[in-house]
Symmetry: C2
Subunit: 478 residues, 2 copies
């Protein structure tokens, strides 16, 4: 029991210091480790297994909707990065520069891709000739680098893993349709798989992507009341097409510029998982993204027949769920704590008395509810309970978010809400950049988005008091 306590005691309580709790959890749940490379993380097997499940499930959705995977070079020549003016201004300050290859100094610097619009555009300019070549629906899974000053595992790292979709279309309408379609795919994915409810909306001009016409976002609320931008899609219009000369001949043999989009989600989503579902005992991983959905923990495993039964259950359950068996020589208490720390959604306890009675005990990670089940109905009960956990995690997160969504009529209200009960704050906005800047400066909150489900909670700007017809969600954000 002392070891058991120790494992748990080593985590800071989230109410005491949320940031510390977060870094404790990523380490203790064995998601990552640090290395001597500043701001980069080692994603350990457990963390990477979550990423693989995320990747394979999202990849299926993208393939079902006609997207194809490709791989672009990781380097971008400086001259290529500079082709689109807004884009280079946005990214040049935060890229890593390769200046030497082997012993020689390069004649032109190469940056390690912070994102690959320029490479896709160069390729499309060569590869697209006629309307028959459209749409081009490409995606790639890779790592990218942005030279951040302060970093935090999963949330902001020098290097991170992501997918970046890059598409080219014949018309502005199709590009807009794609931009919104992907936003829906992201939002559905986050809700159904990660059990995180999302608000969909448009970014203000201040917050949009460097070079984009319009940027859309899905925003989620963390346990501490801060927002996390969880995925973005961008409609570029024909801006990049003009900068890179990507033209096609249409059916009437006229030359036209293509209309483009790009979109991405990153390892950040794992950060969201942690901060939405976790608690003071560690991680809570929704079943659909859990590398281990059920862990079997034998009780009094030295007693005759216990390990055999546990092993039999493991083989049986492995047909329907991702299951493992902890038959190590650690104490049950230690095993329970570790199972909780890793956020395994369900554990099954079985000991000599259970076997005698023909039963087992299921314990839910999220509610800690103990469910006594007959061994005849194990499969059914496990599947059922995992489904319930998946559903209730989403529900719980939605209730938390709704309970932390507020309205502010003026700057004073906005400030006091942020100080006392941080969360999403709805406030009307006049559309003036100056008001966004002022709110940021005085409160630390940024405009998260103009939500699609637009309502009106007034007609004057929360900042300047002038007429306003846009509802904005304001929040402090990661």
């Amino acid at each position: 029991m002392s070891k058991n306590k120790k494992l748990v005691q080593e985590i800071t309580s989230m109410d005491v210091d949320f940031a510390k709790w977060y870094t404790d959890v990523v380490k203790k749940a064995d998601l990552i480790d640090y290395s001597s490379v500043r701001g980069c993380m080692i994603i350990k097997p457990y963390g990477y297994a979550i990423w693989e499940l995320l990747q394979s499930q999202l990849d299926s959705k993208l393939k079902e909707t006609g997207h194809k995977n490709v791989y672009m070079p990781m380097f971008i020549p400086e001259s290529l990065l500079e082709k689109e003016k807004d884009h280079v201004e946005g990214f040049a300050p935060e890229v890593a520069w390769v200046t030497h290859g082997g012993q020689e100094k390069l004649t032109e610097r190469l940056c390690v891709r912070p994102t690959s619009e320029t490479l896709f555009c160069e390729h499309y300019a060569n590869d697209i000739q006629s309307y028959r070549d459209l749409p081009r629906l490409y995606n790639q899974w890779c790592s990218v680098v942005r030279w951040e000053k302060t970093t935090r595992p999963f949330l902001r790292t020098l290097e991170f893993l992501w997918q970046e979709g890059h598409t080219a279309h014949a018309t502005a309408e199709e590009a807009q349709e794609e931009t919104l379609k992907i936003l829906d795919i992201y939002s559905d994915f986050c809700e159904n798989i990660l059990a995180i409810p999302m608000i969909k909306g448009q970014k203000t001009d201040k917050e949009k992507f460097a070079g984009a016409l319009r940027t859309y976002t899905i925003e989620s609320l963390m346990h501490d009341g801060k927002a996390l931008q969880s995925g973005t899609t961008h409609n570029f219009g024909d801006g990049f097409a003009k900068a890179f000369d990507i033209q096609y001949t249409d059916k009437e043999n006229n030359l036209s510029y293509v209309h483009q989009t790009s979109w991405g989600v990153t390892t950040r989503l794992i950060g969201a998982l942690i901060m939405v579902h976790g608690d003071d005992s560690g991680l809570i991983v929704p079943p659909k993204i859990a590398p281990t959905q059920l862990r079997i923990i034998p009780i009094a495993q030295h007693k005759e027949g216990v390990l055999e039964k546990a092993d039999e259950l493991k083989r049986q359950l492995s047909q329907i769920v991702r299951v493992d068996l902890d038959d190590s020589d650690k104490s049950p208490g230690w095993k329970f704590s570790e199972c909780e720390m890793k956020g395994i959604p369900l554990r099954l306890e079985i000991g000599p008395k259970d076997i005698e009675k023909g039963q087992a005990v299921l314990v839910r990670r999220d509610t800690r509810e103990k469910i006594f089940i007959s061994l005849d109905e194990v499969n059914e009960k496990v599947l059922q309970t995992l489904e319930i956990i998946q559903k209730e995690l989403l529900e719980k997160a939605r209730i938390h978010r709704n309970a932390h969504t507020y309205e502010a009529k003026n700057l004073e209200q906005l400030k006091s809400i942020l100080e006392e009960t941080p969360g999403f704050i709805k406030g009307m906005w006049c559309g003036d950049r100056a008001c966004e800047d002022k709110i940021k400066e005085e409160t630390g909150a940024t405009s998260r988005c103009i939500p699609f489900e637009g309502e009106s909670i007034g007609d004057i700007c929360v900042c300047c008091g002038k007429p306003a017809d846009k509802l904005v969600i304001w929040a402090k954000a990661y």
Copy 2:
């Protein structure tokens, strides 16, 4: 028909210029494209789909044998790279150096990983404490960079995709066992999935990996008689463990160094596929790695009922194979050529007369054999034929390799064989590095390996004539 001819005529014949044939095929089969980034390739959807099939099938084998995926940073600080002497000497001359992050000059240069031994070692030094932590069986899929002067798609590129396994074991025996186990997995994978026969053997000291105790290799023979190193596994002994201080306490509470291995295969394997199976009509992809295993080409598709039937067959076959349907408005001749260029193993032709007779025509890509089949037996015949193709491609490659494997007793023989009929050349070797150097210099051939299936074809060195008991396979290589 003129378009059809054109597509084919644009490829150089392999007998005229093998190198040109190769680059023609990678472009025309839509595997890759070039970009403005020197020496790096764009892997297009068709090429990347082959890589995804390769990756998922090999990944399964590695997971089945207990290996877990992780992700390490892409950067290595110069001081970390320098920790193991042989390793840094081997790699430092060919790495890309990041010297600036954003606007600031870095205090220490970072290289873009050419391979990740140093990062894994640093991690293991932190992470491994006791015998309970062993073995550590980690793998990662990523891209690496080596600053090559001359490059060729898939075979030698500045950046390439690969998997790199890095393991740590309690004993020298276990490390050796792992090194050979992985070599078997690679060899079986190449034979069963890529239909490429491999020779397994050990590298000479000259050819072994920088920092390794022993390097093992699988070597294959290309259509032009050149060898291709297709995968390597390295036993490091405790050399890296000593350089990085990776120690564990054993059951008796003594401190011991771990024993390590590393191993990898790369996108190079796609180059092998092309050069082993391809012909003057383009690529030939073995069914198990083919993104499209069967393409349906309707004949006289404007005639009533043809497209409907073709579509029905596609839906039916999609349950059992990777199938597509070319219902574009191109001519059947053009479609046949494209199907051949992409190396789709099997095509199914169906026209009005076939439908009347209740039949279809299967055409094998490898032999061009036409097989008339009844529509009742489509599923069965398709599966059967794909199996036969997979088997016969391997057989054909094995026959080609065996027919191009020679024996040489002395340097003159070695030279004349290499000039007249290049291939694998067996020759005895005294073990002296000077002989390897001389052979390289005078003939261009290198020692590919000392094969496990060692035979003796003499007792004097093919180069110096002194006593020799090692059989070496010599060849010119990619």
